[in-house]
Symmetry: C2
Subunit: 472 residues, 2 copies
């Protein structure tokens, strides 16, 4: 990483963590130059990055200041899901979301799409071209079930950043995180088994439970610190839970990063009740803080954590390259992967391996983290401007999803229908609950760079909410 980016990240983290307070004067260019042993121009470059990110404000002849605090909307309330295992519903609504055609003019605020237009992704497309040209037909053979060795080595290297000390042999490549999650659940559970999930929770993982005939036990989840350990402990005492499935880092949809101490405590709880943990880390590398948060897996000593992830959010979903580090369940997950898809396509694996090996991943992540953090602030500002007063929003610490909670009796299904007619799509809250709760909530994507089109779409959402409230 270049010096000025390093420095910008360090200062940015300090500002974000409140080390410098809103309105504070930041250290002078000269002082930082001395403190960090870098040139004056390096510090100036770092300040320019912070300025771009809205974290530092230059005042003529006075230096840089922390911008005055923004008005911050209230957080969503903690859900109180039914304290019993339920059969999962909402498939129709998920299908509606997934089936929406990409028609020209439709602004998709609903789906979990990263921005794939960044120039930092160009080396990936070049890698694809190179493979088509050089590897030719050899890229069209079957791969081994476990996946390309070079790619697994590269992933093991990247995983060091989340505190995981794994080797290529501990990893299994899958068709996206989706297959990683699906094979993991199938490796551990049988139909009828109970799975504890954070709530709200990623609808794809819940539909997997539904499709496999398992029951979900939704655990109340704090919008800042994640799944309630107290509620989880009670549930573990009360029900024969087989596995805890959650997204603790840059949660989807809430965006929180579960604090490290709570991750450790969760693992201890899993050990005490001898249950497995399926940890979805698909947004983890997109945490706004640096270094990225540690995974629960990084504390795991007896192989009970199945870490699932992919490049769908960090690079591009169309790659369908994911992985799982299944710990003690490796052989079983391997069988489940084999019976699901046989093997994973070699070509995208080779392309991603090339991208990682040539050092393109980290600069790309840095750029996207910056963009998404700015996107978050912009989206929150727009929501505050265009949505009714009293609207509650999450405070994402990574990723590119915002969770929005409207008045208790508001119905986002109706909102979604009204919006589709206006070429705007949102994700309705009910699909994030096993039992169709969160009907007054919605999820919006802030991955795209701010543009008049996106602002117009958000303002349409707001205007439609006002209209529907008046009609009631």
């Amino acid at each position: 990483m270049t010096l000025y980016v390093n420095l910008a990240e360090l200062l940015g983290t300090r500002i974000e963590n409140g080390f410098y307070r809103p309105g504070d004067r930041l250290p002078s260019v000269r002082a930082l130059s001395v403190e960090h042993g870098v040139s004056l121009s390096t510090v100036q470059q770092a300040y320019r990055v912070l300025e771009d990110n809205g974290l530092a404000l230059p005042k003529p002849k006075s230096g840089y200041f922390v911008p005055a605090s923004r008005a911050v909307p209230a957080l969503p309330v903690i859900g109180r899901p039914a304290q019993r295992p339920v059969d999962i519903s909402q498939w129709d609504q998920v299908l509606d979301l997934m089936r929406t055609k990409t028609i020209p003019g439709l602004v998709q605020l609903g789906r979990g799409m990263p921005d794939v237009t960044s120039p930092t992704l160009r080396p990936l497309m070049r890698a694809f071209g190179k493979i088509a040209r050089d590897e030719g037909l050899s890229a069209l053979y079957y791969d081994s079930i476990q996946g390309n060795q070079t790619l697994r080595e590269q992933i093991a290297r990247v995983l060091l950043d989340s505190g995981c000390n794994l080797t290529a042999n501990d990893l299994l490549i899958t068709a996206g995180c989706h297959e990683a999650l699906s094979a993991s659940v199938r490796a551990i559970c049988e139909p009828g088994d109970i799975v504890a999930v954070d709530s709200p929770s990623f609808f794809g993982a819940m539909q997997t439970l539904k499709g496999l005939g398992m029951k979900a036990l939704e655990i109340p989840t704090d919008p800042l610190t994640g799944i309630s350990l107290e509620a989880l402990e009670l549930a573990l005492e009360q029900w024969p839970i087989k596995v805890i499935q959650l997204t603790p880092s840059c949660n989807n949809p809430l965006g929180y990063v579960m604090p490290e101490s709570r991750k450790r405590a969760l693992l201890t709880l899993a050990q005490r009740f001898d249950v497995a943990i399926i940890e979805d880390d698909v947004y983890g590398d997109l945490a706004f803080s640096y270094p990225r948060p540690r995974t629960i897996k990084s504390f795991d000593e007896d192989g009970r954590v199945l870490l699932c992830s992919s490049f769908s959010k960090t690079l591009a979903p169309g790659l369908r390259v994911g992985w799982v580090a299944p710990g003690r369940y490796l052989e079983r997950v391997l069988h489940m992967k084999y019976i699901g898809t046989g093997s994973t396509a070699p070509q995208p694996q080779l392309a991603v391996a090339d991208f990682l090996a040539n050092g393109h991943y980290e600069p790309h992540l840095r750029r996207m983290r910056t963009q998404y953090q700015r996107g978050r602030d912009q989206m929150i500002d727009w929501v505050m401007r265009y949505f009714p007063e009293g609207t509650r929003v999450s405070r994402p610490q990574g990723g590119f999803m915002l969770w929005i909670e409207l008045a208790e009796d508001f119905d986002t299904l109706r909102l979604n229908r009204a919006l589709l007619a206006q070429n705007v799509q949102i994700a309705v809250g009910s699909i994030f609950s096993a039992s169709g709760k969160y009907r007054n909530c919605l999820r919006m994507n802030f991955a795209a760079k701010a543009s008049p089109e996106v602002e117009a779409a958000v303002s349409k959402v707001g205007a439609t909410i006002f209209r529907l409230i008046e009609e009631e």
Copy 2:
């Protein structure tokens, strides 16, 4: 198709079907020219193709003759599997086969790999290059769950050749035929359910049943006409069978094409007992006869047949592009596909769609059919030369797999171990049975063009068989 290829296929089919007998003189060039209204040189070209295929023998000044009949080895005997549903075993042996690394010098006679070195595949690699260059990042978005529309339209067109009149909306793209089979089974069955299978049967499909906790009921299968309808009827009367799963066209591993009348009768049976049929057609387009055999699906009127296939055998397995036409089970299979992998990678779908739309599929198939048919004859000759007398072999009518049956007490697991030390790999017979039968059988791949290396490998297999028999 060019005129001479057309004519060669017509004559070839007649010779193969015994319309002209071994030693017979074939019609003169002039006679054929008049009969088919083509030029003399077209007929001569057609005869050259037949000559290349070993189907016509020129005699100076006398014209063309059908070559004297080859000595033909005996067919495998019909298996007599246990007439009750069993839990499936053999995962370890399947894993061994799948895990074998492609090390330099290893001759893989065991795996289901087509020959992907044909120049007729070059347009596919060019399509990949073009997509990387032109489509760029748009190929990296999520696809719709159902898969690329253009590709589905192209597949619907190809399916016409097998008698299926389907539209793009009837099809669902999957990660290979493997996912098509897996999603189909999961759409219909629950753990504990009984699935009737042909025996011997594709091990991948059986491992899927195993992984999902279903039981397999193996039905005796004739090496020329396929699954025994009489035994199947008895089984349907006796057991609560949920679905019949089979590969009726260019069966893996036996290579037979089930006659059309028996396909119809099977469907009638399924209707009478109201069970679904999962039809694996992954080798169907590689039938040596022209036009290719009809699918059971093509006779299906009430949507009970789930037709599963892919381009893994016809183009290349590394594409991981398959499809399913699930009939009345479409919605359910869609759910199962979604929970398995979310969606299918768009890039290879675009490449295959381009390849099909530009008319490259049919010429490629023609070339591969000719090559594989020659490969079959060569492999049978080698087996007769190098294997013990009394060895029984299948008579494949398509695809590129030969099933070989040795003396009843011979153990191909031992053979496989001894061969791996000599850098040759075969597929052991036991993995083609739910209960580990066929231990005296093996499957060998004849996709590669005849070469001294392949002949040396086959002769090693023969020599090792002799050695193991002596050691006993």
